[in-house]
């Protein structure tokens, strides 16, 4: 059976730099893949290519075995409905209330009535443990952790098959971060979706990943089950996990 999502040889040049130089990843239903890697290594770009937010220069994006980059736009749009994404900065719409954010897709793309959409938004808020009292406030008034929860609720409301999380715990205190990790694990299990997350928070990676892949210099340099992270035998992974400035990876500051 084909993987739920598979990237084959994705290449992307940005500002004259080969950011992605043939990235291959695949992830199955009910599996959670975490991509680790240094800042500016192209982790966010790796998620933007399958979402159609960036066009890869070369390579294929296969969803259930079909290449979305070669589909006519109308069909591609239908396939894109299978995706949900939690953005690095939250990317909540600041002109809309929290519930309108969460229900955005229901109201504007799926033509669900506002009353039903509100009900489903509040249900999603309960699921991510965000009090429904915040339904009518603007996202600006939420704390960072609450914004992540709102973003998560927005990503899962239409029950996607494929979920992307871009640095879900960055900028949160360790306890809130762990609560978000638990939520991610719970949502992936409940929806049975294929999940791809990006993080440089190793505690988070160990918690949410079935498998971990490391992106460096535009390629996946190592990949393996979470349990094998400490025995990878790859010096770059060892350096990253230990958080050392000295090693094969040069910190560019």
């Amino acid at each position: 059976m084909a993987a739920k999502l598979e990237l084959v040889g994705i290449k992307k040049m940005l500002r004259g730099r080969q950011v992605l130089d043939g990235v291959d990843i695949d992830v199955n239903e009910r599996r959670s893949l975490v991509i680790i890697g240094g800042s500016g290594q192209g982790k966010s770009v790796t998620l933007k290519c399958p979402l159609g937010l960036m066009k890869p220069d070369a390579g294929q994006v296969l969803v259930d075995g079909a290449d979305v980059t070669r589909m006519p736009p109308e069909i591609r749009q239908r396939v894109m409905r299978k995706f949900g994404m939690l953005f690095q900065g939250g990317a909540l719409f600041d002109s809309l209330s929290v519930w309108e954010n969460i229900a955005f897709r229901l109201i504007n793309a799926d033509k669900v009535s506002r009353a039903d959409a509100r009900e489903r938004a509040i249900e999603a808020m309960r699921k991510v443990r965000l009090s429904p009292d915040f339904a009518d406030v603007r996202p600006i008034e939420l704390s960072g952790g609450m914004q992540k929860r709102a973003g998560l609720a927005r990503a899962i409301i239409a029950k996607p098959d494929i979920l992307f999380f871009d640095e879900p715990t960055t900028g949160l205190d360790p306890i809130t971060a762990d609560a978000i990790n638990d939520l991610i694990v719970e949502m992936v299990k409940e929806l049975g979706c294929a999940a791809v997350s990006i993080t440089h928070d190793m505690a988070s990676a160990r918690k949410i990943a079935d498998e971990i892949a490391m992106l460096h210099n535009g390629k996946i340099v190592w990949r393996g089950p979470t349990a094998s992270l400490d025995t990878s035998g790859n010096s770059m992974v060892d350096q990253f996990v230990a958080g050392r400035a000295e090693g094969p990876i040069q910190a560019v500051v």
């Binding site: 933007k48 979402l51 159609g52 937010l53 749009q77 894109m80 409905r81 995706f83 949900g84 994404m85 953005f87 690095q88 900065g89 990317a91 909540l92 719409f93 600041d94 002109s95 955005f104 897709r105 504007n108 793309a109 799926d110 927005r154």
Partner: protein, 256 residues
């Protein structure tokens, strides 16, 4: 540095910018004419762009009408043609000053506002988020703004025409010893439908330019707050230059 090379580079840069803007404007028009239309967004923009611009437009129009009357009086007196004040005021306002000044004022108010709002949404990834929520930003964000500006600007200019003529009337009657009834009769006898129509056509085109330029600059902004600031400035400068150039072309076309 070779001056010819830099002039050439500048020209090529400007031409490709015009090309990119035209492509963007074409996409915006296509989005206006392809369903779904986000009616709520459209009505909100009519309120934002149309209704909330009334004070700016009214104040501009009344002072311009008043100043115009004074200048024409002084100029007309040089060859004993003072009595033509009402005729020239109404002609100047409806054909030229109403639409152009409304366009310039709204380039500041509306184009900058659209560029800042859409630009902020771009750099905070809200536009990307919208795409992942299966909603086309061109239909949801850009089409309602472009349509609202194109439709409300003619209405604003009609209001500006009336207030501008009134400004001229007030000055003429109060400080230039014109008879009020005669002034108004001369105004309405003289102005022709085509004068007003020319102004309203211009207004619609300017409204389109203002919204499309603001959206274009915002949509393509990058690089945080600095980028949004640059987008806002470019939107104002770009729409003003384009309004003045297109104003000449439309006028020339109608005069032919």
């Amino acid at each position: 540095m070779n001056p010819f090379a830099s002039i050439g580079r500048g020209t090529i840069g400007m031409l490709s910018e015009i090309g990119r803007f035209s492509a963007f404007a074409g996409r915006a028009i296509a989005a206006v004419f392809s369903p779904p239309l986000f009616l709520g967004q459209f009505l909100r923009q009519c309120w934002q762009i149309g209704y909330l611009s009334l004070p700016v437009i009214g104040i501009t129009a009344v002072f311009i009408g008043a100043a115009l009357a004074l200048n024409i009086y002084v100029g007309g007196a040089r060859f004993n043609a003072e009595q033509f004040v009402p005729n020239i005021v109404v002609l100047g306002i409806t054909r030229e000053l109403g639409p152009v000044l409304a366009g310039l004022m709204l380039a500041g108010r509306v184009s900058a506002g659209i560029a800042a709002e859409i630009g902020t949404m771009r750099v905070t990834e809200q536009i990307d988020a919208m795409t992942t929520l299966s909603t086309d930003p061109f239909r949801y964000l850009i089409a309602p703004r472009v349509l609202a500006a194109t439709l409300t600007l003619p209405v604003l200019v009609l209001v500006a025409d009336i207030i501008g003529v009134m400004g001229g009337y007030l000055v003429a009657v109060n400080s230039l010893d014109f008879n009020g009834a005669t002034y108004l009769r001369n105004t309405f006898d003289f102005v022709e439908a085509q004068d007003v129509i020319l102004g309203l056509v211009k207004a619609g085109v300017f409204g389109f330019i203002i919204a499309a330029m603001g959206a274009y600059q915002g949509y393509h902004s990058s690089g945080g707050a600095l980028g949004v600031g640059r987008a806002t400035t470019n939107a104002v400068v770009g729409s003003i230059v384009l309004i003045l150039a297109v104003n000449y072309l439309i006028t020339a076309f109608f005069v032919e």
